[in-house]
Symmetry: C2
DNA sequence: AATTAGCACTCGACATTGATGAGTGCTAAC
DNA sequence: GTTAGCACTCATCAATGTCGAGTGCTAATT
C-alpha cells in the first residue's frame, strides 16, 4: 500500500483540522470542508488505509480519526509548511531582545515570556552554561554607614550584587582601592583557581580589612556557582489550562508538578543533542509523564561555543509550524545580541 | 432564639469538619465524631435553628450543612483558637528572612514562596512603597572595553545594575571619580528633584563625558520608578488546583486570569485599610470574581512609616487559624529585618 | 478498476428511570 | 427538653434506551 498523493492530502486535512479543533475528524467533514473532489466514502476507504499504516487513530469505534504520533511525525518531516511570522510578531520578539540587552538573565526571562505569550505554549529556556565561570569584575561600593555593596560580574555579563555588613566601613577612596586591588588579583580567575595562595595574597593586600575575606569569598562562590548552574527560565505554564487535552484537572496538576522540578526541566532541555531544531512528539519523549505532549527544542550559540537551549512544550496537537517559525526567529535575535556581548573583550 | 453554648459547639464542629473534609456535615457525623452528649436528632434541631439564623447552609435538601460566610465570620471573630506554629514552621519562616536580608525584592519574593509553601494557599506581597524614592548611592564600575556598570541604590536598599555601552570607556580612576561626583550631586534626590539646574551641574562636572547623561538619567528614572511602583510578589497560585472547590477547571482558570493582572492584585491588597489583620470572607470581598474565596491581609511597617501588605487568598473553607499564625509570625520577622535596614543612615 | 451511494452496524453522548443511602423534619413518646 | 422513629427529599450511581456521528461493507455506477 503506497502513500500516494491523495492519502497525503487527506492526512494533511485531518491534521490541520485536528490541530484547529481538537475534535476527531470524520470523513464527511473532510469531504465538505476540503474540496478534494472525492466523496466521503472514498475518503473513508483512504482513511482506513491510513489507519492501517499507523498514521491516524480512531479513539473509539464510531468517532472520527485523530493523528497518531507517527502521523504528526510525517507531517513535521514532510508536510509542514513554513509559516512566515507576521510583522507584529517579529517586532514583539525583537523588541524584547533589544530592551534587555545588557543582562543575560533578564534577557532570557523576558524572551521566555514573549515566546509563551506569542505561542500560548509553555516555554523553557536554559541560560548558556559557562563552565568554570570566570570573574570579570569585582568591585566594592559604599552603601551606608554599615554596609557596602559588592558587585561581581562574570564573563557573559552575569552581574550580581551582594550587600556586606561591616562594623566599620572604609572611607570611600579606600574602598575603591580595595575593590580595584581585589579585582586585580581575582580578575580572570574561576572559583576553583582561588586557592590558599591567592587567599593569602588577598589577605596580605587587604591588611586590616582582611576580615571581609570570608564574606567576599562566599559571595564569589555563590555568584560563580550561580553562573555555572544551569538556570532555567519557565514561562506560560498556565496556558496549559486552556487546552482541552488538559481539561482533566488531574492531568493539568501532574504536568504542573513536573514543571516545578528544575532537574526535570534540565533533563528535558538536555534531550537536545544536535544543534538543529529538534521535535519530539508524544511517545518519542523519554520522560514518561509527558508522553502526550510534544517538545520542540533548539539551541542558541555564543561565539565562544557555549550554548543554551530553548524549548517549547505543548500538546501533541500543537501548531508545529508556528512554533518552528517563532523559535527560528528568536534564536537569530538572541544570537545577535549575545554576539555583541561576547565581542567585548574582558579588558578595562 | 439565642446562640447558646451548645449551638456554638455544634457550629464549631461543623466548621472544623468542613474545613478538614470539604464535605457537607450531617447531624449523625457530628453526633458520632464529637462527643457532645446529645443525639443526632437534637443536633438536627439545633442545626435547623443555626440555619435559620444564617450561620449554616444546606447546599441541597438532603445533604449535610456547610458554613455560610456569616458562619465563618462568627468563627473568625469569636471561636477561632490561636494556633502555635510548630518549631520547624517557625524556623522555615525565619531562615528565609535571614538569608535574604540585604535586598528587599528578594526578601519579599522568598517570603511569598515560604508562606505559600507552608499554608498551601496563594500569597501576595506588596513591597513597601517609598513615595518619591530617594537615591542613596550611584556608582560607576568598569566592565569591559565598551561598557560600564551603573549601580543605583535607593533608600530601602533597592539596588539595580544597568549596563551602559560607551564608545570610549574612561580609565578606572577617572570612572571612579565620575561615579563619586555623580553620587555627590544626586545623592538624596528623588527623581522629581533632578531638574534642569541639576542636569546642568552634572553636565558641567562630567565635561567630555557628558554624553552618558541621557543613559544615566534614563537608568535613574527606571530605578526610582521601579522603587516607587508597587511591586507585587505572587506565589503559590498553582496550589489552587489542589482544592476540590476548584476542581472545575473553568473556575480555576478564571481565578488564574484574575491573579495575572497586577492591578487586580494591588486592588486586593489595598482593601487593607487599618493596620490589624483583616479577614474578608467570601461575599465580603468587593471583587466579584473572588466572592467564593477568603482573603486575609495584614501590613508590615517600616520605621519611616512606609508599609507593605501581605495577603493570603484561599477558599472560604480556609484554615484561618493557621494563616493568622503564619502571618503574625512572618510580619514580626520582616519588621525586624526592615528595622535593621532603615536604621542605617544614608551616610558613607 | 476506481468511485460512490446506500445501508447496516457500532458506540459515545445524553437523557430517563429506578434503586440506594445520607440526611432532614416532624411527631409522638419518654 | 430530649430522643426514637418514620416519612420524605434528593444526590449519586448504575442500568436502560435513544440519537446521531461515523464507519465498513457491498453492490451499483462510471
Amino acid at each position: 500500500m503506497a502513500l500516494n498523493d491523495r492519502k497525503i492530502q487527506i492526512l494533511q486535512a485531518i491534521i490541520n483540522d485536528y490541530i484547529a479543533t481538537a475534535e476527531p475528524v470524520g470523513s464527511r467533514t473532510i469531504a465538505k470542508k476540503y474540496n478534494l473532489g472525492i466523496s466521503s466514502a472514498t475518503i473513508r476507504n483512504e482513511m482506513s488505509d491510513l489507519e492501517e499504516m499507523g498514521f491516524i487513530i480512531q479513539p473509539h469505534a464510531s468517532a472520527g480519526r485523530i493523528p497518531s504520533d507517527l502521523g504528526y511525525r510525517l507531517y513535521v518531516d514532510r508536510l509542514m509548511q513554513k509559516r512566515e511570522l507576521k510583522q507584529e510578531e517579529q517586532q514583539l520578539l525583537q523588541s524584547v531582545v533589544m530592551r534587555n540587552i545588557s543582562q543575560i538573565d533578564y534577557l532570557m526571562e523576558e524572551t521566555a515570556k514573549a515566546i509563551s505569550m506569542l505561542t500560548n505554549y509553555t516555554t523553557l529556556i536554559s541560560e548558556p552554561v559557562s563552565k568554570g565561570a570566570k570573574l570579570k569584575q569585582i568591585r566594592l561600593l559604599p552603601l551606608d554607614s554599615e554596609s557596602v555593596v559588592l558587585v561581581i560580574a562574570t564573563d557573559g555579563n552575569y552581574i550580581k550584587n551582594h550587600v556586606l555588613k561591616l562594623s566599620v566601613v572604609p572611607e570611600e577612596q579606600k574602598l575603591f582601592d580595595m575593590g580595584r586591588c581585589i579585582n586585580n588579583i581575582l580578575k580572570g580567575c574561576t572559583w576553583e583557581e582561588i586557592d590558599k595562595r591567592v587567599v593569602a595574597i588577598l589577605k596580605k593586600e587587604l591588611q586590616e580589612y582582611a576580615y571581609i575575606l570570608p564574606m567576599l569569598l562566599s559571595a564569589i562562590e555563590k555568584t560563580t556557582k550561580g553562573a555555572e548552574n544551569i538556570q532555567v527560565h519557565l514561562s506560560g505554564t498556565k496556558n496549559i489550562l486552556a487546552f482541552p487535552e488538559f481539561s482533566d484537572i488531574q492531568r493539568a496538576k501532574s504536568l504542573f508538578q513536573i514543571l516545578e522540578q528544575k532537574d526535570v526541566l534540565i533533563t528535558l532541555l538536555e534531550e537536545q543533542k544536535n544543534d538543529d531544531m529538534q521535535i519530539l512528539i508524544g511517545s518519542e519523549n523519554t520522560l514518561q509523564s509527558i508522553k502526550d505532549c510534544s517538545v520542540i527544542t533548539t539551541t542558541y550559540k555564543m561565539g565562544d561555543g557555549t550554548r543554551g537551549t530553548i524549548g517549547i512544550l505543548g500538546p501533541t496537537r500543537m501548531d508545529y509550524s508556528q512554533v518552528v517559525s517563532v523559535l527560528n526567529s528568536m534564536v537569530k535575535n538572541i544570537e545577535n545580541v549575545l554576539q555583541i556581548l561576547t565581542d567585548k573583550k574582558n579588558d578595562t
